[in-house]
């Protein structure tokens, strides 16, 4: 089962989680970040991951991606063990996941177009130059950038454009699973709302499953189907927002029912609040 095309699309009634984390333990020296963390991400959903600073949201993402070897626990991504070092398993995960790092993590010596072509060159070296170029152009425009951005260097782009370019690179291989690490951090509210909308549109058009780390309450309310809360070194809840607001936990209460949480819920300060897709996807 290490073939991208043998995976079922989310449209079929498939209740197997696309990411399954069990008993994850991560520690740095004496400092335990995760202690017995469990999490399921279902195909076709946008799962928001929230938690205070230092609760290990990014560490969780890095563990799932295999960038960090956890100290204990099991992680299964797209049907393979994330800790596996076997070439076929690594390839399977690399081809089927896209990652947008916090500031885009674009290669600064390459233009945006070349950045997007990197994964295509690496994984499909036999693609013709023209098709690869057109695919890069397509992804850049899907991410909401002008075609002219293709020949620009990352240093010539604004923060919001860098994120869009990073998203284009993450989408280069049409991965079914997309990781976004604080995609709206550092964007102005209008840019952030536009990015939320883009995420939702792409998720529906491409049938993506999105693992979204965020601090942004507006993003949670605008696009997330379910939200996982990390606190006390575990995922203390995975639920829809109305359920979480009622959860009796001090951090959760302060987070969702504090002034900012209420503003995001009531004020509809930005973003489209269209009815979220079902967790199983309505692509």
């Amino acid at each position: 089962m290490t073939d991208i095309d043998t995976l079922d699309k989310p449209s079929t009634a498939n209740l197997e989680p696309i990411i399954r984390v069990r008993g994850l333990v991560n520690q740095f020296g004496d400092q335990v970040v995760h202690d017995g963390l469990d999490l399921d991400v279902m195909p076709g959903e946008i799962l928001g991951v929230v938690g205070g600073s230092g609760t290990g949201k990014s560490v969780l993402m890095r563990s799932i991606l295999g960038l960090r070897t956890p100290d204990a626990g099991e992680i299964e991504v797209l049907g393979v063990d994330a800790r596996s070092q076997a070439a076929a398993d690594r390839l399977h995960i690399e081809r089927n996941t896209g990652v947008l790092f916090q500031d885009g993590a674009l290669f600064s010596s390459l233009t945006v177009g070349e950045n997007v072509q990197v994964p295509l060159r690496e994984h499909y070296p036999t693609l013709s130059d023209s098709l690869r170029y057109e695919l890069a152009l397509l992804k850049v425009k899907l991410a909401g950038l002008e075609a002219a951005a293709l020949n620009k260097l990352p240093s010539q782009l604004s923060g919001g454009m860098r994120k869009r370019a990073g998203l284009a690179r993450a989408l280069a291989l049409d991965p079914p699973l997309l990781f976004l690490d604080e995609p709206t951090a550092g964007l102005d509210p209008i840019g952030a709302a536009a990015f939320d909308k883009l995420t939702r549109t792409l998720q529906q058009a491409l049938g993506l499953t999105v693992f979204l780390i965020t601090h942004d309450l507006d993003t949670l309310y605008a696009i997330c189907d379910r939200v996982a809360v990390i606190a006390d070194k575990k995922v203390i809840a995975v639920a829809t927002l109305p359920e979480l607001e009622r959860l009796d936990h001090p951090w959760v209460q302060e987070y969702f029912n504090g002034p900012r949480g209420r503003a995001a819920r009531n004020g509809d300060s930005r973003g489209d609040r269209s009815a979220p897709a079902h967790a199983t996807g309505d692509v």
Binding site: I4, E134, L137, A147
Partner: protein, 375 residues
């Protein structure tokens, strides 16, 4: 599902030719992974098509849609006659939205572009020279200001840099100078032996080291070791906006970052040159003792008879100048970093190259000048 079903195929259904052409039936997986087969299948497809039935396509991604769009564009087939499965509609619509216009021209890689880059490089070099001279002026004026306002001077930073660029470099400078001294003695002895003048090795090593090699070797070593460190340290701070933060807090980056480094190097480079002189002389003496039959006592007494203080002074006089060149280039390049990791690397390379070249050029000019003056 077997591999046979996976390959993208087109079957032509002639019988049901209701419109202007046959009906094409697409099957299989039209994805990036099968891009080559998709191209082949589309190349074999007929020029005319009445309708295209893609509802039996098992799997479709943006690469597949893009190739179908290109196919439709090439054959001038209206994309509306393509019939997709319901759950592919969103994807097709999204790709169609953004893929309508033709790709732009790629950047130039030809001869004209190369000529253009050459022109830019010449201008850049000129700008660099002007920048270095004005940076020298800025530093001198701020040093003068520091004499009037001594509280601007940062003693702790200066001493810390002295340790890093001076004390920590002693073993390296000593070892390399010792070896070069020994090599010069060997080379000289080989030639002087033919004239029976082996004892002149002492003068050769003395003059060579005290006038030129001691200070030159030290300066080249520090240009590699210290100029690069200065550029990388300051460059990393620039790229993390620390230098901008400094300016907004009312700190002058030249006072805080450049002058401590400049003074530290100007103090330590002459001292290191002195160590290099001693090490070089020791290298020559060792070769004399071990393989030229000149015992250390004879070597030393010959040294005392023939050595002039002016050689030593000529050599050491160049040290502060070299120190200034190395420190200024290292710091200036660091301050010119432009925020990317690549820029830090480029600037570091450039600072080492500039520092070493300039040190050698200045040394050559100084050598000619001192000879002409008769020192």
């Amino acid at each position: 599902m077997g591999a046979r079903d996976a390959a993208p195929t087109i079957t032509i259904d002639q019988g049901n030719a209701a419109g202007s052409g046959p009906r094409l039936q697409l099957k299989g997986r039209w994805t990036l992974r099968y891009a080559a087969q998709v191209s082949a299948a589309l190349a074999d497809a007929p020029d005319q098509a009445g309708s295209v039935d893609a509802t039996a396509v098992d799997r479709l991604d943006s690469a597949g849609v893009l190739q179908l769009l290109r196919f439709a564009h090439r054959r001038q087939i209206d994309f509306a006659i393509f019939d997709f499965r319901a759950d592919h509609h969103a994807l097709v619509a999204a790709i169609e939205d953004v893929a309508d216009d033709r790709p732009r021209k790629k950047p130039e890689y030809g001869f004209a572009a190369a000529l253009g880059r050459l022109g830019f490089a010449v201008v850049d070099n000129w700008v660099e020279i002007v920048a270095l001279i004005s940076f020298l002026g800025e530093n001198l004026s701020k040093l003068l200001r520091m004499i009037k306002q001594p509280r601007r001077f940062r003693l702790t930073a200066t001493v810390s840099h002295m340790e890093q660029v001076g004390l920590d470099a002693v073993p390296l400078v000593f070892l390399l100078s010792y070896l070069v001294g020994a090599v010069i003695a060997f080379l000289g002895a080989n030639i002087l032996q033919d004239f029976g003048a082996t004892i002149y090795v002492v003068e050769l090593v003395n003059v060579a080291f005290l006038r030129e090699f001691g200070v030159l070797l030290t300066a080249i070593l520090l240009a590699g070791r210290t100029a690069s460190a200065f550029t990388a340290q300051i460059g990393a701070m620039v790229s993390r906006e620390e230098v901008d933060a400094m300016r907004t807090l009312g700190l002058d980056p030249v006072d805080v970052l450049v002058i401590p480094r400049l003074l530290a190097l100007m103090v330590t480079l002459p001292l290191l040159s002195f160590i290099a002189d001693i090490a070089g002389l020791l290298g020559g003496m060792s070769v004399g003792a071990f393989s030229l039959d000149i015992p250390p006592q004879a070597y030393l007494s010959r040294m005392q008879e023939t050595m002039h203080l002016r050689h030593f002074l000529v050599g050491l006089a160049k040290a502060p100048v070299f120190a200034m060149v190395i420190a200024l280039i290292g710091c200036l390049e660091g301050l010119q970093v432009e925020g990317t990791a690549q820029s830090v690397g480029e600037r570091t390379t450039s600072s080492v190259v500039q520092a070493i070249s300039l040190v050698i050029v200045l040394d050559a000019i100084a050598a000619i000048w001192f000879m002409q003056v008769g020192w």
